[in-house]
């Protein structure tokens, strides 16, 4: 299947690393005391999180009348944030499952942190529908269980219920997948640990792993199965999120291209977030030899492809609105592009369609600073995409007398900020206590693209044949 010493491929890991070097390099930040930078970032994130907690407590106590919603615009900021965060999560599963099935071995340097990002992003996303319920203490009513109210069951024909199943399944499977990958690394940490507490904690978390090849054998099958399950799962999650909109009869929502359009957008925004995080992490944690410029370039290419799909979807939507002959659809699109929310529409178009085209240029793809800026631009654009889809479709509905405008209140903005606080607080804790790079997986690709030592090229090709399976 794969050839380890292919002379056609470039090495994934830069520098002449030995196995022990990888362990040392990856674990170093965990074994040192946290840096001042980490403390500053952590305290800032924690403060923002606390602001969010206060805002959420307030709006639960007083009610969601504290939001800027009105009779016409029943969904706005909260659902925008929900879709945004769910989308962010998708890149992690794409890296860990889909790229695994496609044998993209460069994924090993980024899969652990991207999966952690997924789990945290899904947690951030989950908060929003929970608050939106208005009475979140009754959230368990969405779970179908025999109850004393009838039994009164949930409505299995509702996309909102599908969403509950999709997101809770997604969270569970992502967590399991992430933890499965973590078990061997926890064993590595356990066997290096000096202090008793560390030995105990890592011993508990490594499940008694000893690296037996017989266990590795089953482990790899399990990993493959989870990847095979997570691949359609990740595609289903954002498809179902899109059905929350697509099954409604609102112009601009009622569209069959929504599922693929949403999935591409999710991967687009998720990869941008991965780029943002990785560019910071490789610098701060000194992982430049593991997350190389080549990795960044490859991620940029995925951003470019998914951005292309998103741009195509915008194009198709506009085309359908103009030529399909549905006057409501046509009005809605003219209103989107030229109406009172035109500024949001054009932010979306410029951030998602125009600026990402810069990534066609190789020099830009390999320029870390520019890629960093572009990744943030895309994230802003993707947030606005959801805002545009939700608010501009609703604010001028079928009855002109009920047309309205929406403006977020300070509580809503604080809640969004708080979700970022939650995201970064958890991500910083992850970077502090869990190996940021999958040690065991990176070791497996160490020889990738490298010639076998002490062999002429002809005999090395023969050696290739020996290890090809």
């Amino acid at each position: 299947m794969s050839i380890y010493y292919s002379i056609l491929r470039k090495p994934i890991i830069a520098g002449d690393k030995k196995l022990k070097d990888i362990t040392d390099d990856v674990i170093r930040p965990l074994e040192q005391k946290p840096t001042l930078l980490w403390w500053v970032a952590f305290l800032v994130s924690l403060t923002v999180l606390l602001i969010g907690v206060i805002a959420v407590t307030y709006q639960i106590k007083v009610g969601i009348g504290t939001w800027g919603l009105n009779k016409t615009i029943g969904w706005a900021f909260d659902i925008t944030n929900f879709v945004f965060w769910i989308g962010i999560g998708h890149a992690g599963t794409l890296i860990s499952a889909i790229l695994f099935l496609f044998r993209q071995r460069w994924r090993t340097s980024i899969n652990r942190s991207a999966e952690a990002m997924t789990i945290i992003a899904v947690m951030c996303a989950g908060i929003f529908p929970l608050i939106h319920m208005g009475r979140p203490w009754l959230f368990f009513w969405v779970i179908p269980y025999p109850n004393l109210r009838g039994s009164l069951w949930v409505n299995f024909r509702s996309p909102l219920l599908w969403d509950f199943f999709a997101i809770s399944t997604y969270f569970t499977i992502s967590l399991i997948f992430w933890y499965l990958g973590l078990i061997p690394d926890m064993a590595t940490l356990r066997d290096r640990a000096k202090s008793k507490i560390k030995k105990f904690v890592y011993g508990l978390m490594s499940f008694g792993w000893n690296g037996s090849a017989r266990i590795w054998h089953h482990y790899e099958t399990t990993y493959l199965m989870l990847a095979a399950l997570a691949t359609p799962l990740v595609l289903s999650v954002h498809s179902i999120v899109s059905m929350d909109f697509a099954t409604a009869v609102i112009p601009g929502w009622h569209s069959t291209i929504f599922p693929p359009y949403f999935v591409a957008g999710a991967i687009f925004s998720g990869f941008s977030m991965v780029l943002t995080l990785m560019i910071i992490a490789r610098k701060v944690l000194h992982y430049e030899e593991y997350i190389t410029i080549d990795h960044i370039e490859k991620m940029c290419k995925i951003v470019l492809v998914t951005g292309g799909i998103v741009a195509l979807s915008y194009g198709i939507e506009i085309f359908m609105a103009i030529f399909f002959g549905n006057q409501y659809e046509r009005f809605m699109f003219i209103n989107r592009a030229l109406g009172p929310y035109a500024w949001a529409f054009w932010i979306m178009i410029s951030c998602n369609v125009i600026f990402p085209q810069l990534l066609w240029i190789k020099k830009i793809r390999r320029n870390v600073a520019l890629v960093f800026i572009l990744s943030i631009v895309v994230n802003i654009g993707m947030w606005f995409e959801r805002f545009v889809i939700i608010v501009t479709s609703l604010h001028r509905d079928f009855l002109p007398s009920s047309w309205a405008m929406y403006k977020p209140t300070i509580i809503e903005i604080a809640t969004l900020a708080g979700s970022f606080g939650l995201f970064f607080t958890f991500f910083l804790l992850f970077a502090r206590f869990v190996p940021f790079i999958a040690i065991g997986e990176v070791k497996g690709v160490l020889k990738y693209g490298k010639l076998k030592k002490n062999l002429t090229s002809e005999s090395s090709l023969k050696a290739n044949a020996d290890v090809t399976v």
Binding site: R157, F207, G208, G211, H218, L226, S236
Partner: protein, 173 residues
């Protein structure tokens, strides 16, 4: 049972010696590696893991549970007329059915793996060498009876750059 163990530093040496030891008719007890060595299962002659069938079984169970429970809830226990749609609106049940299929399959195989590999939280790991989860590859061979020729095995290990070899008495593992 006594064991012979040899430590290697490189996966290629390990792959080669594993094949040679097996070809010479010795039975490999286990091999301990810091990462999943590509092709080692083949060199050891391990049969494909049957966990994948189990995964299918769990996923299928999820599918059945999802369809039956949605049918029972929607058509038998509490049928609600929603816009004249049939009580058993199967196409609308598909998303939840799919999610439960994946959920059962994924959670099921994870716990099946832990069970099969006898891993559990807090279990004490049995290590031949403290560095086997870091940078050493350890091959252990069963010493069954007098047919075990330590000279030959030692020779094979040395040929393939073994770092150290030793005999583990009794079933310490």
């Amino acid at each position: 049972m006594d064991l012979f163990s040899a430590v290697f530093k490189d996966e290629d040496d390990l792959l080669k010696v594993t094949r040679q030891v097996r070809d010479s008719g010795y039975s490999i007890y286990d091999i301990y590696t810091p990462y999943a060595v590509h092709g080692l299962d083949d060199a050891m002659g391990l049969k494909p893991s049957k966990l994948s069938y189990l995964c299918f079984g769990f996923a299928f169970l999820g599918l059945i549970v999802a369809i039956l429970s949605q049918y029972w809830i929607g058509s038998i226990d509490w049928p609600i007329n929603v816009g004249g749609k049939p009580f058993n609106s199967l196409p609308a049940y598909l998303p939840v059915t799919f999610e439960l299929t994946v959920l059962f399959g994924g959670v099921g195989i994870f716990f099946a793996f832990l069970f099969k590999a006898r891993l559990r939280p807090g279990k004490t790991a049995k290590l031949v060498n403290p560095h086997s989860t870091d940078y050493y590859f350890i091959l252990t061979i069963e010493i069954k009876d007098s047919s075990f020729d330590s000279e030959t095995v030692l020779g094979l290990c040395r040929q393939n750059n073994a770092v150290e070899t030793k005999i583990i008495l009794g079933n310490a593992l």
